[in-house]
């Protein structure tokens, strides 16, 4: 007979270890998330380290080698100007992932900030939630289009076409996508605020900012992480949609969305050219989604370890 009591028994005692190991242990048990994680890491490595190994300039035109299928020299073939698709995929991935991650980070920061403030401070709740409703009521894609139209020129002249558009894109996606996070976070904060450990901290006299940092924020991390992963995915899609509508990055600047968009014209002739960016976007989004699923479980210490 084996007794496995929920409490720790003396025999089970080990040196305490970093809680992230526990998170990882739990995360590993989620097969989808693990596969997603491996794929995502692979993509990240390919995108970040790949260009150092595959040194062909993504903008280099080798006109004699245009429209080639996969060869040893060009494993993913070349485009209509003979630019190496592999190099372009890596360069494009860097941009797409950067857009995804940065705009997600922006929207998370905004969303968490507003959610925490609204949830924690009763006085701010009304105004901030009205503000959130307002943003929710603003039609997003149109607004995004309008913003891109309006500020694109100003920004690209100030920061240069690429950085300018990057800033614009990230800001536009970021400030039009924080509302869900804010709502979730607020809901969680409201619930957390009623949790007794917050009351316990209040009974100690913990000031608000420390309360938020110590008790509120760590406990809203898991919904935030989950919406983070979803955010990366939707930002990548949004960027590619904007590219499709001709409002994204400059055309010679590769992003996955742009590569896919450019390749759509050649769908009949060179289907593989659609395939690669399509696969990259789908894989990234899928893997990130699955990571989100896994994180949701792994970040919850109550599920973790059980």
């Amino acid at each position: 007979m084996t007794d496995t009591a929920p409490q720790i028994t003396e025999e089970a005692f080990r040196r305490p270890r970093n809680q992230w190991w526990d998170v990882w242990d739990q995360f590993r048990t989620h097969k989808g998330a693990l596969v997603g994680f491996i794929i995502f890491i692979t993509i990240m490595v390919a995108v970040l380290i790949g260009p150092y190994l595959w040194t062909i300039d993504p903008g280099y035109i080798d006109i004699r080698a245009r429209n080639q299928g996969p060869t040893l020299a060009h494993p993913l073939g070349t485009d209509q100007l003979g630019r190496d698709m592999l190099a372009r995929m890596m360069a494009g991935g860097k941009v797409s992932v950067a857009v995804g991650v940065t705009s997600m980070a922006l929207s998370l920061i905004l969303g968490t900030l507003i959610g925490v403030l609204a949830g924690y401070f009763k006085k701010l709740d009304g105004p901030l939630m009205r503000f959130t409703d307002l943003f929710l009521a603003l039609p997003l894609l149109p607004l995004l289009l309008v913003m891109v139209m309006l500020f694109r020129e100003a920004l690209s002249s100030r920061f240069g076409p690429e950085t300018g558009i990057f800033i614009l894109m990230v800001t536009a996606i970021g400030i039009t996508s924080w509302m869900q996070t804010a709502r979730i976070v607020r809901g969680d904060v409201l619930a957390l605020k009623e949790r007794e450990f917050v009351l316990a901290a209040r009974s100690i006299g913990t000031p608000s900012y420390r309360m938020i940092l110590r008790h509120i924020l760590p406990n809203v991390m898991s919904p935030v992480m989950v919406s983070a992963t979803l955010g990366i995915a939707s930002a990548i899609i949004t960027e590619s949609s904007l590219s499709f509508l001709g409002l994204g990055f400059p055309p010679d600047f590769p992003t996955w969305g742009r590569l896919l968009f450019d390749a759509v014209d050649y769908l009949n002739q060179y289907p593989e050219r659609v395939f690669w960016p399509g696969l990259a976007i789908s894989l990234t989004v899928l893997s990130v989604n699955y990571i989100g699923d896994g994180l949701r479980d792994a970040l919850d210490p109550r599920i973790r370890g059980r």
């Binding site: 989808g32 009205r130 409703d133 307002l134 929710l136 009521a137 603003l138 039609p139 894609l141 149109p142 607004l143 289009l145 309008v146 913003m147 139209m149 309006l150 020129e153 995915a233 939707s234 899609i237 590619s240 949609s241 499709f244 509508l245 969305g257 896919l260 968009f261 759509v264 769908l267 009949n268 659609v274 399509g278 976007i281 789908s282 990234t284 989004v285 899928l286 989604n289 699955y290």
Partner: protein, 335 residues
């Protein structure tokens, strides 16, 4: 319930006003104006006159109220006049598109049918696909059906519609020749054959959008079902000897539908504005395409009107979602 509804309605008004102001300001501050499209040969004085006639010379708040009046008073009155042959709106300035020089409302009215047909239908189809998938996925959690459902719905969000759209066209229109690749907005359904043609031309755009919509809604449905399947009342229903069909399709479903219905209601406004890309791909020249051409053409009245209409719809459906919530959930019904 009544107070609740009225309260929500009243709250919607300031929201809409602020939204209208934001939209107005955002576009108003945009560089470019309609006279930019006029040939440069027109002397500046004349240009200035044209600007004046378009109301561009006025201070910003005057123009805002003018626009509000046009939008909220003049346009509805025009519609009223058209319907009942009255003349209330005579002499009132309508909101005129800079690009086509015609009343914005007329064009919007012209575009509505195809948008409703295609995007609306896709939403309905999406919901009809999503609900059973969500229910089965949740009921058989972690089964192969659930796993595949999860994968497909994730794929649903992760593939951009401009890609799936073109892919479908190449397969079904070009290679198989089953469906037309270009949507005929002038098509009138007046016979069986015409109806069949309408169905054929709708299939591809509807499927592309339905996949996307279904992906999202089925995830919600699944989560909501899962939440409810674990509830105590489910056990009570089973303890009463109710069949699984009754337990799942009556007891659990009714409860799970409460959040999902609101999600569905909140998604309705997207029908009007969210399908820009699909409309582009299939040449369904609906409201989305109207908006994008207006943006390209710097047609600010059109953009303002459309964005505002979208905002009104979003607020409206928010309201409907809230009220539906109240109707479906007896706990909310009484304030």
């Amino acid at each position: 319930m009544f107070t609740y509804t009225v309260r929500r309605l009243l709250l919607a008004i300031p929201t809409l006003l602020i939204i209208s102001l934001i939209i107005f300001l955002l576009l108003d501050l945009a560089p470019g104006d309609p006279t930019a499209q006029l040939p440069l040969t027109i002397p500046p004085e004349v240009k200035e006159k044209i600007r004046q006639s378009l109301g561009l010379g006025e201070p910003i708040h005057v123009r805002y109220f003018l626009w509000l009046k046009q939008f909220l008073v003049a346009e509805p009155l025009h519609v009223f006049d058209n319907l009942f042959g009255t003349h209330f709106a005579d002499g009132m300035q309508r909101v005129i598109s800079w690009q086509t020089r015609s009343p914005v409302a007329d064009i919007v009215a012209q575009r509505l049918p195809q948008t409703l047909w295609v995007v609306g239908m896709s939403y309905v189809v999406g919901v009809l696909i999503a609900l059973p998938i969500g229910i089965i996925s949740a009921y058989k959690q972690y089964s192969w059906f659930d796993q595949i459902g999860t994968f497909i719905s994730m794929l649903g969000f992760s593939v951009p519609t401009f890609f799936t759209g073109v892919l479908l066209i190449v397969i079904f229109a070009v290679n198989l020749g089953w469906f037309p690749s270009i949507y005929d907005t002038t098509h009138v359904v007046d016979s069986w054959d015409a109806f069949v043609f309408q169905v054929r031309q709708m299939i591809m755009p509807v499927m592309v959008l339905a996949l996307y919509n279904a992906a999202q809604i089925s995830r919600f449905m699944r989560a909501s079902m899962l939440d409810n399947l674990g509830q105590d009342y489910v056990r009570t229903a089973r303890a009463k000897g109710m069949s699984e069909k009754v337990v799942v399709l009556i007891h659990v479903l009714r409860n799970s539908m409460i959040p999902v219905i609101t999600v569905i209601a909140l998604g309705v406004p997207q029908i009007f504005g969210g399908a820009i890309i699909t409309e582009q791909v299939f040449k369904v020249n609906g409201l989305g395409q109207l908006l994008i051409t207006a943006i390209y053409a710097n047609d600010i009245p059109m953009v303002q009107t459309l964005t505002f209409i979208f905002a009104v719809l979003i607020v409206l459906f928010n309201l409907i979602a809230d009220i539906l919530y109240g109707i479906l959930d007896p706990r909310i019904r009484y304030d």
